[in-house]
Protein backbone atom coordinates (compact mmCIF):
# COMPACT_ATOMS: atom_id res chain seq x y z
CA UNK A 1 0.00 0.00 0.00
CA UNK A 2 2.17 2.81 -1.26
CA UNK A 3 1.15 6.48 -1.25
CA UNK A 4 0.10 7.64 -4.68
CA UNK A 5 2.79 9.82 -6.21
CA UNK A 6 1.54 13.34 -5.66
CA UNK A 7 2.19 16.18 -8.03
CA UNK A 8 4.83 18.27 -6.35
CA UNK A 9 3.13 21.55 -7.20
CA UNK A 10 -0.31 20.61 -5.97
CA UNK A 11 0.34 20.49 -2.25
CA UNK A 12 3.25 21.58 -0.10
CA UNK A 13 4.80 18.85 2.03
CA UNK A 14 3.22 18.22 5.42
CA UNK A 15 6.56 18.54 7.17
CA UNK A 16 9.71 20.21 5.90
CA UNK A 17 12.84 19.98 7.99
CA UNK A 18 15.55 22.35 6.79
CA UNK A 19 19.11 22.32 8.08
CA UNK A 20 18.04 21.23 11.52
CA UNK A 21 20.96 21.19 13.95
CA UNK A 22 20.79 20.09 17.56
CA UNK A 23 23.79 20.24 19.86
CA UNK A 24 24.83 18.82 23.20
CA UNK A 25 27.31 20.59 25.40
CA UNK A 26 30.44 18.44 25.69
CA UNK A 27 32.96 20.10 28.00
CA UNK A 28 33.86 23.41 26.40
CA UNK A 29 32.26 22.84 23.01
CA UNK A 30 28.93 22.11 21.43
CA UNK A 31 28.80 18.78 19.64
CA UNK A 32 26.19 18.39 16.92
CA UNK A 33 24.11 15.25 17.42
CA UNK A 34 21.93 16.39 14.52
CA UNK A 35 23.89 18.23 11.86
CA UNK A 36 22.13 20.20 9.09
CA UNK A 37 19.45 17.58 8.62
CA UNK A 38 16.90 18.25 5.88
CA UNK A 39 14.01 16.14 4.66
CA UNK A 40 10.33 16.36 3.95
CA UNK A 41 7.29 14.20 4.49
CA UNK A 42 4.14 14.42 2.42
CA UNK A 43 0.62 13.73 3.60
CA UNK A 44 0.00 10.00 3.95
CA UNK A 45 3.62 9.11 3.23
CA UNK A 46 6.02 6.96 5.26
CA UNK A 47 9.60 8.12 5.56
CA UNK A 48 11.96 5.71 7.29
CA UNK A 49 14.88 7.23 9.16
CA UNK A 50 17.51 4.51 9.48
CA UNK A 51 20.89 4.47 11.09
CA UNK A 52 22.92 2.80 13.75
CA UNK A 53 22.94 3.55 17.44
CA UNK A 54 23.88 7.15 18.22
CA UNK A 55 23.40 8.45 14.68
CA UNK A 56 20.91 11.07 15.88
CA UNK A 57 17.54 9.54 15.01
CA UNK A 58 15.86 10.06 18.38
CA UNK A 59 17.32 13.54 18.79
CA UNK A 60 15.84 14.41 15.38
CA UNK A 61 12.43 13.17 16.57
CA UNK A 62 12.69 15.09 19.83
CA UNK A 63 13.73 18.21 17.95
CA UNK A 64 10.66 18.07 15.70
CA UNK A 65 8.47 17.80 18.81
CA UNK A 66 10.54 20.51 20.51
CA UNK A 67 11.12 18.17 23.41
CA UNK A 68 14.94 18.32 23.49
CA UNK A 69 16.04 18.73 27.09
CA UNK A 70 19.17 20.56 28.30
CA UNK A 71 22.12 20.04 27.92
CA UNK A 72 20.77 19.60 24.40
CA UNK A 73 19.34 22.45 22.34
CA UNK A 74 18.30 23.19 18.81
CA UNK A 75 20.92 25.50 17.37
CA UNK A 76 19.72 26.02 13.84
CA UNK A 77 17.30 25.25 11.06
CA UNK A 78 13.58 25.40 10.42
CA UNK A 79 10.83 22.86 10.94
CA UNK A 80 7.82 23.72 8.81
CA UNK A 81 4.62 21.88 9.65
CA UNK A 82 1.84 22.79 7.24
CA UNK A 83 3.95 25.75 6.32
CA UNK A 84 4.38 27.11 9.88
CA UNK A 85 7.81 27.12 11.50
CA UNK A 86 7.48 25.14 14.72
CA UNK A 87 10.69 26.60 16.07
CA UNK A 88 9.12 30.05 16.02
CA UNK A 89 5.86 29.09 17.78
CA UNK A 90 5.15 30.05 21.39
CA UNK A 91 5.18 26.98 23.66
CA UNK A 92 1.40 27.26 24.19
CA UNK A 93 0.74 26.78 20.48
CA UNK A 94 3.34 24.05 20.27
CA UNK A 95 1.37 22.14 22.90
CA UNK A 96 -1.68 22.03 20.65
CA UNK A 97 0.49 20.71 17.80
CA UNK A 98 1.80 17.90 19.97
CA UNK A 99 -0.79 15.16 19.89
CA UNK A 100 -3.26 16.89 17.58
CA UNK A 101 -0.85 17.69 14.74
CA UNK A 102 2.17 15.51 15.35
CA UNK A 103 2.40 12.58 17.77
CA UNK A 104 5.47 10.76 18.98
CA UNK A 105 5.70 7.15 20.09
CA UNK A 106 8.76 7.01 22.29
CA UNK A 107 11.54 4.49 21.97
CA UNK A 108 11.18 3.06 25.50
CA UNK A 109 7.72 1.50 25.71
CA UNK A 110 8.06 0.75 29.43
CA UNK A 111 8.61 4.34 30.47
CA UNK A 112 6.00 5.82 28.18
CA UNK A 113 2.90 4.60 30.03
CA UNK A 114 2.20 5.67 33.59
CA UNK A 115 1.98 2.55 35.76
CA UNK A 116 -0.53 4.01 38.25
CA UNK A 117 -3.25 4.95 35.78
CA UNK A 118 -5.53 2.67 33.80
CA UNK A 119 -5.13 2.43 30.06
CA UNK A 120 -8.47 4.18 29.60
CA UNK A 121 -7.61 7.16 31.78
CA UNK A 122 -4.33 7.70 29.92
CA UNK A 123 -6.14 7.81 26.59
CA UNK A 124 -8.85 10.01 28.11
CA UNK A 125 -6.28 12.46 29.40
CA UNK A 126 -4.91 13.06 25.95
CA UNK A 127 -8.42 13.61 24.62
CA UNK A 128 -9.26 16.04 27.42
CA UNK A 129 -6.05 18.05 27.03
CA UNK A 130 -7.05 18.74 23.47
CA UNK A 131 -10.70 19.33 24.33
CA UNK A 132 -11.89 16.45 22.22
CA UNK A 133 -14.47 15.08 24.68
CA UNK A 134 -17.42 16.52 26.54
CA UNK A 135 -17.70 14.21 29.55
CA UNK A 136 -15.92 11.38 31.29
CA UNK A 137 -18.40 8.91 29.86
CA UNK A 138 -17.70 10.26 26.44
CA UNK A 139 -13.94 9.92 27.05
CA UNK A 140 -14.29 6.33 28.14
CA UNK A 141 -16.38 5.50 25.11
CA UNK A 142 -13.77 7.10 22.82
CA UNK A 143 -11.00 5.21 24.61
CA UNK A 144 -12.78 1.92 23.96
CA UNK A 145 -13.22 2.84 20.30
CA UNK A 146 -9.54 3.72 20.02
CA UNK A 147 -8.47 0.45 21.63
CA UNK A 148 -10.68 -1.33 19.12
CA UNK A 149 -9.09 0.69 16.31
CA UNK A 150 -5.65 -0.58 17.29
CA UNK A 151 -7.05 -4.15 17.53
CA UNK A 152 -6.79 -4.62 21.27
CA UNK A 153 -9.03 -7.61 21.97
CA UNK A 154 -11.88 -7.07 24.45
CA UNK A 155 -11.43 -3.29 24.59
CA UNK A 156 -14.31 -2.87 27.12
CA UNK A 157 -12.31 -4.92 29.60
CA UNK A 158 -8.82 -3.69 28.73
CA UNK A 159 -9.81 -0.06 29.14
CA UNK A 160 -9.88 -0.51 32.92
CA UNK A 161 -6.60 -2.40 33.16
CA UNK A 162 -3.19 -1.11 34.20
CA UNK A 163 -0.11 -1.19 31.95
CA UNK A 164 1.55 -4.04 33.88
CA UNK A 165 -1.42 -6.29 33.12
CA UNK A 166 -0.67 -6.07 29.41
CA UNK A 167 1.86 -7.91 27.28
CA UNK A 168 4.56 -5.94 25.47
CA UNK A 169 2.64 -6.10 22.22
CA UNK A 170 -0.61 -4.86 23.79
CA UNK A 171 1.25 -2.07 25.57
CA UNK A 172 2.65 -0.91 22.24
CA UNK A 173 -0.90 -0.94 20.80
CA UNK A 174 -2.10 1.21 23.70
CA UNK A 175 0.73 3.67 23.04
CA UNK A 176 -0.33 3.85 19.43
CA UNK A 177 -3.93 4.42 20.55
CA UNK A 178 -2.78 7.35 22.73
CA UNK A 179 -0.74 8.72 19.85
CA UNK A 180 -3.58 8.68 17.33
CA UNK A 181 -6.31 9.71 19.82
CA UNK A 182 -6.44 13.30 18.57
CA UNK A 183 -6.11 12.43 14.89
CA UNK A 184 -2.63 13.80 14.21
CA UNK A 185 -1.56 14.20 10.59
CA UNK A 186 1.94 12.93 11.35
CA UNK A 187 2.99 10.08 13.60
CA UNK A 188 6.62 9.74 14.59
CA UNK A 189 7.33 6.19 15.72
CA UNK A 190 10.78 5.78 17.30
CA UNK A 191 11.76 2.10 17.05
CA UNK A 192 8.16 1.00 17.65
CA UNK A 193 8.91 -2.71 17.37
CA UNK A 194 12.51 -3.14 18.46
CA UNK A 195 11.68 -4.54 21.89
CA UNK A 196 9.08 -6.95 20.52
CA UNK A 197 9.17 -10.55 19.31
CA UNK A 198 9.18 -11.13 15.57
CA UNK A 199 5.55 -12.27 15.44
CA UNK A 200 4.35 -9.28 17.47
CA UNK A 201 6.54 -6.92 15.44
CA UNK A 202 4.84 -8.12 12.27
CA UNK A 203 1.41 -7.43 13.79
CA UNK A 204 2.34 -3.92 14.93
CA UNK A 205 3.74 -3.04 11.50
CA UNK A 206 0.54 -4.32 9.93
CA UNK A 207 -1.45 -2.14 12.33
CA UNK A 208 0.60 0.94 11.40
CA UNK A 209 -0.04 0.25 7.71
CA UNK A 210 -3.79 -0.06 8.36
CA UNK A 211 -3.94 3.13 10.41
CA UNK A 212 -2.06 4.99 7.72
CA UNK A 213 -4.64 3.97 5.15
CA UNK A 214 -7.63 4.63 7.42
CA UNK A 215 -6.56 8.01 8.76
CA UNK A 216 -4.31 9.13 5.89
CA UNK A 217 -1.50 9.38 8.43
CA UNK A 218 2.00 10.38 7.48
CA UNK A 219 4.59 8.33 9.30
CA UNK A 220 8.17 9.05 10.28
CA UNK A 221 9.40 5.59 11.13
CA UNK A 222 12.67 5.41 13.02
CA UNK A 223 14.38 2.06 12.90
CA UNK A 224 17.70 0.32 12.39
CA UNK A 225 16.11 -2.76 10.84
CA UNK A 226 16.29 -2.71 7.06
CA UNK A 227 13.72 -5.49 6.85
CA UNK A 228 11.21 -3.24 8.60
CA UNK A 229 12.16 -0.42 6.23
CA UNK A 230 11.59 -2.57 3.16
CA UNK A 231 8.13 -3.55 4.36
CA UNK A 232 6.89 -0.20 5.57
CA UNK A 233 8.57 2.79 3.96
CA UNK A 234 7.86 4.81 0.84
CA UNK A 235 11.09 6.75 1.14
CA UNK A 236 14.22 6.25 3.19
CA UNK A 237 16.73 8.62 4.78
CA UNK A 238 19.96 7.03 6.00
CA UNK A 239 21.62 8.80 8.91
CA UNK A 240 25.23 8.54 9.98
CA UNK A 241 26.93 10.55 12.73
CA UNK A 242 24.25 13.24 12.79
CA UNK A 243 23.85 13.72 9.04
CA UNK A 244 21.59 12.28 6.38
CA UNK A 245 24.05 10.64 4.01
CA UNK A 246 21.57 9.23 1.52
CA UNK A 247 17.92 9.69 0.70
CA UNK A 248 15.78 7.98 -1.91
CA UNK A 249 12.66 5.96 -2.54
CA UNK A 250 12.66 2.61 -0.81
CA UNK A 251 13.10 0.85 -4.12
CA UNK A 252 16.12 2.96 -5.08
CA UNK A 253 17.77 2.50 -1.71
CA UNK A 254 17.55 -1.28 -1.96
CA UNK A 255 18.22 -1.55 -5.71
CA UNK A 256 20.75 1.22 -6.29
CA UNK A 257 22.31 2.32 -3.01
CA UNK A 258 24.93 4.95 -3.79
CA UNK A 259 26.58 5.75 -0.47
CA UNK A 260 29.17 3.18 0.65
CA UNK A 261 27.62 3.25 4.13
CA UNK A 262 24.19 2.33 2.79
CA UNK A 263 25.80 -0.36 0.65
CA UNK A 264 27.63 -1.70 3.70
CA UNK A 265 24.49 -1.76 5.82
CA UNK A 266 22.61 -3.70 3.15
CA UNK A 267 25.52 -6.08 2.67
CA UNK A 268 25.82 -6.89 6.37
CA UNK A 269 22.31 -8.35 6.55
CA UNK A 270 22.80 -12.10 7.04
CA UNK A 271 21.96 -13.93 3.87
CA UNK A 272 23.63 -15.67 1.00
CA UNK A 273 25.15 -19.06 1.40
CA UNK A 274 24.83 -20.40 4.98
CA UNK A 275 28.13 -20.34 6.78
CA UNK A 276 29.72 -17.89 4.37
CA UNK A 277 31.45 -14.87 5.81
CA UNK A 278 29.23 -11.86 6.26
CA UNK A 279 30.24 -8.56 4.76
CA UNK A 280 31.03 -6.36 7.71
CA UNK A 281 31.91 -2.70 7.77
CA UNK A 282 35.31 -2.23 9.43
CA UNK A 283 35.54 -0.21 12.60
CA UNK A 284 32.68 1.20 14.60
CA UNK A 285 30.25 4.10 14.73
CA UNK A 286 31.96 7.25 16.05
CA UNK A 287 30.57 8.73 19.24
CA UNK A 288 29.57 12.33 19.72
CA UNK A 289 32.71 14.40 20.21
CA UNK A 290 34.87 12.06 18.15
CA UNK A 291 33.07 12.49 14.85
CA UNK A 292 35.78 12.78 12.18
CA UNK A 293 36.28 15.83 10.01
CA UNK A 294 35.11 15.71 6.45
CA UNK A 295 32.93 12.73 5.59
CA UNK A 296 32.31 11.06 8.96
CA UNK A 297 32.24 7.66 7.28
CA UNK A 298 35.62 8.10 5.56
CA UNK A 299 37.73 6.21 8.17
CA UNK A 300 35.57 3.11 7.63
CA UNK A 301 35.07 3.54 3.92
CA UNK A 302 36.80 1.17 1.49
CA UNK A 303 36.57 3.76 -1.31
CA UNK A 304 37.87 6.86 0.43
CA UNK A 305 40.13 9.15 -1.55
CA UNK A 306 41.70 12.60 -1.22
CA UNK A 307 38.70 14.90 -0.65
CA UNK A 308 36.89 12.63 1.83
CA UNK A 309 38.72 13.37 5.09
CA UNK A 310 38.90 17.10 4.50
CA UNK A 311 35.50 18.46 3.63
CA UNK A 312 31.93 17.22 4.15
CA UNK A 313 30.55 16.12 0.79
CA UNK A 314 27.40 17.91 -0.35
CA UNK A 315 24.22 15.96 -1.13
CA UNK A 316 24.75 15.06 -4.79
CA UNK A 317 21.63 14.43 -6.83
CA UNK A 318 22.12 10.92 -8.20
CA UNK A 319 18.68 10.07 -9.49
CA UNK A 320 15.02 11.00 -9.24
CA UNK A 321 14.56 12.25 -5.66
CA UNK A 322 17.76 10.45 -4.80
CA UNK A 323 20.63 12.22 -3.05
CA UNK A 324 23.89 10.93 -1.62
CA UNK A 325 26.61 12.75 0.30
CA UNK A 326 29.57 11.03 -1.31
CA UNK A 327 32.38 12.37 -3.49
CA UNK A 328 32.18 9.25 -5.63
CA UNK A 329 29.06 10.83 -7.08
CA UNK A 330 30.87 14.01 -8.11
CA UNK A 331 31.40 13.99 -11.90
CA UNK A 332 34.49 16.14 -11.38
CA UNK A 333 36.20 13.22 -9.67
CA UNK A 334 34.99 10.57 -12.09
CA UNK A 335 38.16 10.32 -14.24
CA UNK A 336 40.30 9.83 -11.15
CA UNK A 337 38.05 6.99 -10.04
CA UNK A 338 38.04 4.69 -13.01
CA UNK A 339 40.36 2.20 -11.28
CA UNK A 340 39.29 -0.68 -9.06
CA UNK A 341 37.40 0.11 -5.91
CA UNK A 342 34.36 1.72 -7.42
CA UNK A 343 31.24 0.96 -5.42
CA UNK A 344 28.89 -1.71 -6.60
CA UNK A 345 31.85 -3.94 -7.24
CA UNK A 346 32.87 -4.78 -3.70
CA UNK A 347 36.60 -5.08 -3.77
CA UNK A 348 36.69 -6.35 -0.22
CA UNK A 349 35.84 -9.85 0.93
Amino acid sequence: MRAQPTHPTVEPPLLEVEHLSTAFRLGQTDALAVNHVSFEIRTGETLALVGESGSGKSVTAFSIMRLVQPPGRIVGGRILFRGRDLLALPEREMRTIRGAGISLIFQEPMSALNPVFTVGSQIAETLQVHGRVRSRRDARQRAIELLAAVSVPQPERRVDEYPHQLSGGLRQRVLIAVAIACRPALLIADEPTTALDATIQAQILELLRELKATFNLALLLITHDLGVVAETADRVAVMYAGRIVEEASVREIFRHPKHPYTQGLLASIPGGHPGSRLRAIDGGVPSLGTIPQGCAFAPRCPYRFEPCPTEVPPPYVVGVEHRARCYLQDPAYAPALSGPGRPGRHSKS
Binding site: E52, D197, A198, T199, A202, G227, V228, S268, P270, I281
Partner: protein
Protein backbone atom coordinates in the same frame (compact mmCIF):
# COMPACT_ATOMS: atom_id res chain seq x y z
CA UNK B 1 29.03 -39.84 21.48
CA UNK B 2 27.56 -36.33 21.33
CA UNK B 3 29.47 -33.61 23.18
CA UNK B 4 26.37 -32.54 25.09
CA UNK B 5 23.18 -34.36 25.79
CA UNK B 6 20.35 -32.58 27.59
CA UNK B 7 17.69 -34.99 28.87
CA UNK B 8 14.29 -34.00 30.25
CA UNK B 9 15.61 -30.73 31.61
CA UNK B 10 13.17 -28.92 33.89
CA UNK B 11 13.51 -25.59 35.63
CA UNK B 12 10.69 -24.11 37.66
CA UNK B 13 10.86 -20.69 39.29
CA UNK B 14 8.58 -19.78 42.17
CA UNK B 15 6.88 -16.49 41.50
CA UNK B 16 5.06 -14.86 44.38
CA UNK B 17 2.05 -13.16 42.90
CA UNK B 18 1.56 -10.50 45.52
CA UNK B 19 0.59 -10.34 49.15
CA UNK B 20 -1.55 -13.11 50.67
CA UNK B 21 -1.70 -15.05 47.49
CA UNK B 22 -0.18 -18.42 46.93
CA UNK B 23 2.97 -18.20 44.84
CA UNK B 24 2.67 -19.66 41.40
CA UNK B 25 5.27 -21.65 39.53
CA UNK B 26 6.82 -20.48 36.29
CA UNK B 27 7.73 -23.47 34.16
CA UNK B 28 10.60 -21.71 32.45
CA UNK B 29 11.99 -24.95 31.05
CA UNK B 30 9.62 -27.86 30.94
CA UNK B 31 11.03 -31.20 29.82
CA UNK B 32 13.59 -30.17 27.23
CA UNK B 33 15.85 -32.71 25.50
CA UNK B 34 18.41 -32.30 22.72
CA UNK B 35 21.95 -33.29 21.82
CA UNK B 36 24.82 -31.28 20.38
CA UNK B 37 27.59 -32.93 18.39
CA UNK B 38 31.19 -31.84 18.70
CA UNK B 39 31.98 -28.94 16.35
CA UNK B 40 28.34 -28.18 15.71
CA UNK B 41 26.52 -24.85 15.98
CA UNK B 42 23.18 -25.56 17.59
CA UNK B 43 20.62 -22.75 17.56
CA UNK B 44 17.95 -22.10 20.15
CA UNK B 45 15.19 -19.73 19.05
CA UNK B 46 11.76 -18.75 20.29
CA UNK B 47 9.86 -15.80 21.65
CA UNK B 48 10.85 -13.78 24.67
CA UNK B 49 10.32 -15.78 27.85
CA UNK B 50 10.23 -19.15 26.11
CA UNK B 51 13.13 -20.41 28.25
CA UNK B 52 16.21 -20.09 26.02
CA UNK B 53 18.46 -18.29 28.50
CA UNK B 54 17.33 -20.52 31.35
CA UNK B 55 18.20 -23.61 29.30
CA UNK B 56 21.69 -22.24 28.58
CA UNK B 57 22.27 -21.33 32.20
CA UNK B 58 21.07 -24.71 33.46
CA UNK B 59 23.62 -26.45 31.24
CA UNK B 60 26.42 -24.47 32.90
CA UNK B 61 24.68 -24.78 36.28
CA UNK B 62 24.61 -21.03 36.64
CA UNK B 63 21.09 -21.80 37.78
CA UNK B 64 20.33 -25.18 39.34
CA UNK B 65 17.86 -27.21 37.27
CA UNK B 66 14.81 -28.62 39.00
CA UNK B 67 15.20 -31.97 37.26
CA UNK B 68 16.80 -33.70 34.31
CA UNK B 69 20.27 -34.60 33.13
CA UNK B 70 22.98 -32.60 31.41
CA UNK B 71 25.47 -35.11 30.05
CA UNK B 72 28.71 -33.52 28.90
CA UNK B 73 31.37 -35.82 27.41
CA UNK B 74 29.47 -38.77 28.86
CA UNK B 75 29.16 -37.51 32.43
CA UNK B 76 26.14 -35.95 34.14
CA UNK B 77 27.15 -32.41 35.09
CA UNK B 78 24.24 -32.17 37.50
CA UNK B 79 25.78 -34.88 39.69
CA UNK B 80 29.15 -33.12 39.96
CA UNK B 81 30.34 -31.82 43.31
CA UNK B 82 32.06 -28.45 43.56
CA UNK B 83 35.61 -29.46 42.63
CA UNK B 84 34.56 -31.56 39.66
CA UNK B 85 32.10 -28.90 38.54
CA UNK B 86 34.85 -26.31 38.60
CA UNK B 87 36.96 -28.41 36.28
CA UNK B 88 33.98 -29.07 34.01
CA UNK B 89 33.30 -25.34 33.79
CA UNK B 90 36.68 -24.80 32.20
CA UNK B 91 35.34 -26.69 29.27
CA UNK B 92 32.02 -24.85 29.04
CA UNK B 93 31.83 -21.09 28.83
CA UNK B 94 29.19 -18.47 28.23
CA UNK B 95 29.14 -15.19 26.31
CA UNK B 96 26.42 -12.84 27.47
CA UNK B 97 24.04 -10.68 25.50
CA UNK B 98 24.91 -7.31 26.88
CA UNK B 99 28.48 -6.17 26.21
CA UNK B 100 27.84 -3.09 28.36
CA UNK B 101 26.92 -4.67 31.66
CA UNK B 102 28.72 -7.99 31.44
CA UNK B 103 32.22 -6.58 31.97
CA UNK B 104 33.29 -5.16 35.33
CA UNK B 105 33.70 -1.42 34.66
CA UNK B 106 36.38 -0.99 37.32
CA UNK B 107 38.74 -3.64 36.00
CA UNK B 108 41.26 -3.12 33.23
CA UNK B 109 40.46 -5.38 30.30
CA UNK B 110 43.73 -7.29 30.75
CA UNK B 111 42.57 -8.29 34.24
CA UNK B 112 39.11 -9.18 32.96
CA UNK B 113 40.53 -11.60 30.41
CA UNK B 114 43.09 -12.97 32.85
CA UNK B 115 40.66 -13.54 35.70
CA UNK B 116 39.48 -17.04 34.72
CA UNK B 117 43.12 -18.14 34.51
CA UNK B 118 43.74 -16.89 38.05
CA UNK B 119 40.55 -18.48 39.39
CA UNK B 120 41.60 -21.81 37.95
CA UNK B 121 45.24 -21.27 39.01
CA UNK B 122 46.63 -21.74 35.55
CA UNK B 123 50.20 -20.79 34.62
CA UNK B 124 52.68 -18.39 36.09
CA UNK B 125 52.12 -14.66 35.97
CA UNK B 126 54.26 -14.38 32.87
CA UNK B 127 52.49 -17.32 31.20
CA UNK B 128 49.14 -15.76 31.91
CA UNK B 129 50.20 -12.39 30.52
CA UNK B 130 51.37 -14.06 27.34
CA UNK B 131 48.09 -15.95 27.10
CA UNK B 132 46.07 -12.74 27.51
CA UNK B 133 48.10 -11.15 24.73
CA UNK B 134 47.47 -14.11 22.51
CA UNK B 135 43.72 -14.08 23.27
CA UNK B 136 43.52 -10.38 22.50
CA UNK B 137 45.06 -10.95 19.12
CA UNK B 138 42.86 -13.99 18.54
CA UNK B 139 39.68 -11.90 18.83
CA UNK B 140 41.12 -9.12 16.69
CA UNK B 141 41.95 -6.58 19.38
CA UNK B 142 45.09 -4.50 19.76
CA UNK B 143 47.26 -5.84 22.64
CA UNK B 144 48.46 -2.28 23.24
CA UNK B 145 44.93 -1.50 24.50
CA UNK B 146 45.09 -4.09 27.27
CA UNK B 147 45.46 -1.49 30.00
CA UNK B 148 42.27 0.30 29.12
CA UNK B 149 38.92 0.07 30.88
CA UNK B 150 35.78 -1.40 29.27
CA UNK B 151 34.12 2.00 28.71
CA UNK B 152 36.99 2.96 26.40
CA UNK B 153 35.85 0.31 23.92
CA UNK B 154 32.91 0.23 21.54
CA UNK B 155 30.13 -2.33 21.86
CA UNK B 156 31.63 -4.65 19.27
CA UNK B 157 35.03 -4.45 20.91
CA UNK B 158 33.52 -5.16 24.32
CA UNK B 159 31.83 -8.23 22.91
CA UNK B 160 35.26 -9.33 21.65
CA UNK B 161 36.65 -8.85 25.16
CA UNK B 162 33.86 -11.03 26.54
CA UNK B 163 34.74 -13.62 23.95
CA UNK B 164 38.46 -13.48 24.78
CA UNK B 165 37.59 -14.07 28.43
CA UNK B 166 35.30 -16.97 27.56
CA UNK B 167 38.04 -18.56 25.45
CA UNK B 168 40.81 -18.10 28.04
CA UNK B 169 40.43 -21.63 29.41
CA UNK B 170 40.23 -23.32 26.02
CA UNK B 171 36.62 -24.46 26.32
CA UNK B 172 35.08 -26.87 23.87
CA UNK B 173 31.50 -25.66 24.35
CA UNK B 174 30.54 -21.99 24.23
CA UNK B 175 27.01 -20.94 25.09
CA UNK B 176 26.49 -17.70 23.21
CA UNK B 177 23.35 -16.02 24.58
CA UNK B 178 22.27 -13.40 22.04
CA UNK B 179 25.91 -12.42 21.52
CA UNK B 180 25.22 -9.75 18.90
CA UNK B 181 21.71 -8.52 19.71
CA UNK B 182 22.97 -5.35 21.38
CA UNK B 183 25.34 -4.47 18.55
CA UNK B 184 24.90 -2.26 15.51
CA UNK B 185 24.13 -4.08 12.29
CA UNK B 186 27.47 -3.25 10.71
CA UNK B 187 29.32 -4.47 13.80
CA UNK B 188 27.19 -7.60 14.25
CA UNK B 189 28.63 -8.95 11.05
CA UNK B 190 32.19 -8.51 12.37
CA UNK B 191 31.44 -10.48 15.54
CA UNK B 192 29.60 -13.22 13.65
CA UNK B 193 32.54 -13.61 11.27
CA UNK B 194 34.84 -13.82 14.28
CA UNK B 195 32.67 -16.51 15.90
CA UNK B 196 32.80 -18.54 12.68
CA UNK B 197 36.58 -18.10 12.34
CA UNK B 198 37.21 -19.11 15.94
CA UNK B 199 35.02 -22.15 15.59
CA UNK B 200 37.11 -23.35 12.70
CA UNK B 201 40.42 -22.53 14.33
CA UNK B 202 39.65 -23.89 17.81
CA UNK B 203 37.14 -26.63 16.93
CA UNK B 204 34.51 -24.96 19.10
CA UNK B 205 30.97 -26.18 19.64
CA UNK B 206 28.32 -23.47 19.99
CA UNK B 207 24.95 -23.34 21.63
CA UNK B 208 23.75 -20.21 19.90
CA UNK B 209 20.76 -18.46 21.45
CA UNK B 210 19.21 -15.82 19.25
CA UNK B 211 16.04 -14.21 18.08
CA UNK B 212 17.36 -13.01 14.74
CA UNK B 213 16.22 -15.84 12.54
CA UNK B 214 18.15 -14.65 9.52
CA UNK B 215 21.31 -14.96 11.56
CA UNK B 216 20.35 -18.37 12.90
CA UNK B 217 19.72 -19.62 9.41
CA UNK B 218 23.13 -18.34 8.37
CA UNK B 219 25.31 -19.86 11.06
CA UNK B 220 23.51 -22.80 12.67
CA UNK B 221 23.73 -26.44 11.63
CA UNK B 222 20.65 -27.48 13.59
CA UNK B 223 17.97 -25.42 15.29
CA UNK B 224 15.49 -26.05 18.10
CA UNK B 225 12.42 -23.84 18.42
CA UNK B 226 11.19 -23.23 21.96
CA UNK B 227 7.66 -22.24 22.88
CA UNK B 228 6.52 -21.79 26.49
CA UNK B 229 9.36 -23.82 27.96
CA UNK B 230 9.20 -26.68 25.47
CA UNK B 231 10.95 -27.55 22.27
CA UNK B 232 8.21 -27.75 19.66
CA UNK B 233 10.40 -28.32 16.62
CA UNK B 234 13.97 -29.42 15.96
CA UNK B 235 15.67 -29.90 12.61
CA UNK B 236 18.65 -28.96 10.49
CA UNK B 237 18.58 -25.25 9.70
CA UNK B 238 17.94 -25.92 6.03
CA UNK B 239 15.02 -28.30 6.71
CA UNK B 240 13.51 -26.01 9.32
CA UNK B 241 13.51 -22.98 7.05
CA UNK B 242 12.48 -24.92 3.95
CA UNK B 243 9.67 -26.92 5.53
CA UNK B 244 8.59 -25.72 8.98
CA UNK B 245 6.04 -28.12 10.46
CA UNK B 246 4.72 -26.64 13.69
CA UNK B 247 2.20 -23.76 13.43
CA UNK B 248 4.32 -21.68 15.81
CA UNK B 249 7.45 -22.17 13.71
CA UNK B 250 5.49 -21.24 10.62
CA UNK B 251 4.16 -18.07 12.25
CA UNK B 252 7.65 -17.20 13.46
CA UNK B 253 9.34 -17.70 10.11
CA UNK B 254 6.61 -15.86 8.24
CA UNK B 255 7.16 -12.86 10.53
CA UNK B 256 10.75 -12.28 9.45
CA UNK B 257 10.75 -9.08 7.46
CA UNK B 258 12.32 -9.51 4.04
CA UNK B 259 14.86 -6.81 3.24
CA UNK B 260 13.48 -6.33 -0.23
CA UNK B 261 10.70 -3.81 -0.89
CA UNK B 262 9.43 -5.77 -3.85
CA UNK B 263 8.83 -9.03 -2.04
CA UNK B 264 5.84 -9.46 0.24
CA UNK B 265 5.60 -12.42 2.54
CA UNK B 266 2.37 -14.17 3.34
CA UNK B 267 2.03 -13.78 7.11
CA UNK B 268 0.79 -16.72 9.10
CA UNK B 269 -0.89 -16.08 12.38
CA UNK B 270 -0.86 -18.38 15.35
CA UNK B 271 -3.82 -18.78 17.61
CA UNK B 272 -2.18 -19.80 20.91
CA UNK B 273 -5.36 -21.63 21.90
CA UNK B 274 -4.73 -24.15 19.15
CA UNK B 275 -1.29 -25.16 20.45
CA UNK B 276 -1.37 -28.27 22.55
CA UNK B 277 1.67 -27.96 24.79
CA UNK B 278 1.57 -31.60 25.81
CA UNK B 279 1.91 -33.04 22.36
CA UNK B 280 5.24 -34.89 22.17
CA UNK B 281 7.88 -34.41 19.49
CA UNK B 282 7.74 -36.96 16.72
CA UNK B 283 10.07 -37.52 13.81
CA UNK B 284 8.25 -36.19 10.76
CA UNK B 285 11.21 -36.70 8.41
CA UNK B 286 14.69 -38.07 9.08
CA UNK B 287 16.25 -35.79 11.71
CA UNK B 288 13.26 -33.44 11.67
CA UNK B 289 11.18 -33.47 14.86
CA UNK B 290 7.97 -31.56 15.50
CA UNK B 291 5.32 -31.56 18.22
CA UNK B 292 2.42 -31.93 15.79
Amino acid sequence: MPLLEVRHLVKHFARSSGLFRASSVVRAVDDVSFTIEEGETFGLVGESGSGKTTTGRCILRLVEPTAGEVVFRGEDVLKFRRGRLRRARRDMQIVFQDPYSSLNPRMRVAAIVEEPLIIHRIGSRANRRARVDELFRLVGLEPSHLNRFPHEFSGGQRQRIGLARALALNPSLVVADEPVSALDVSVQAQVINLLMDLQEKLKLTYLFIAHDLRLVRHICDRVAVMYLGRIIELATASDLFAAPQHPYTRALLSAIPIPDPEVRRQRMLLDPATVNRDRPLREVAPGHWAAI
